[in-house]
Symmetry: C2
Subunit: 114 residues, 2 copies
């Protein structure tokens, strides 16, 4: 497995902002132009554009400009990298709990054998 630390940095960082998550939530329901993503947010359009830039840099969103409209879409496989990291952690601690309970089982049997 390659070192995906910088990617994960950017992904988690991108998702740590409510404005950016709101954009992702909107784009989960389908593509949208910049102005539609920006409209509900309590900030100026340039600020929203900067958030969009963060999402694109993280690989969560791709966009294409046609005429004067830039249409944005979600990049679903980017989120799977995050999921993979979380799943790996869960596998580790579940595995540890399994070992722990197996060990406790051994102790119990040894106690009963006395």
């Amino acid at each position: 497995m390659l070192n995906q630390s910088p990617n994960l940095d950017r992904l988690f960082q991108a998702l740590a902002d409510p404005a950016r998550r709101a954009m992702i939530e909107r784009l989960s329901r389908g593509p949208a132009p910049v102005s539609e993503l920006a409209r509900p947010l309590p900030m100026s359009l340039p600020a929203a554009m900067q958030h969009l830039g963060v999402l694109e840099a993280a690989g969560l969103v791709r966009s294409e400009k046609v005429g004067r409209v830039r249409t944005c879409a979600i990049e679903p496989q980017a989120l799977s990298l995050v999921e993979q990291w979380i799943d790996a952690r869960r596998r580790e601690w579940e595995h540890r709990l399994d070992r722990l309970s197996a060990y406790l089982e051994v102790l119990k049997v040894e106690e009963a054998d006395k």
Copy 2:
């Protein structure tokens, strides 16, 4: 569903740093004292303590001090909140793709009927 935006902010933010993810990865394999979490990191002990504080504030880690040793452990259900958010997004865009392909199917049938 309550508004968990501030929680998600803290969670994603906490996970956005490689030093903090390294701590979580270590703790996934079992509890550890502060010094063990700090040792592999390329920074001073106080810096590592601050990272630990971020993880605790996010609810990802809990710790207890006994004697002069503070033992830290992972709080697994905190990660599930992150998973829930990601799952909800995936459900949305999958649902959208389903509707889209159903629509395309309708178009195809209408075309064939001509």
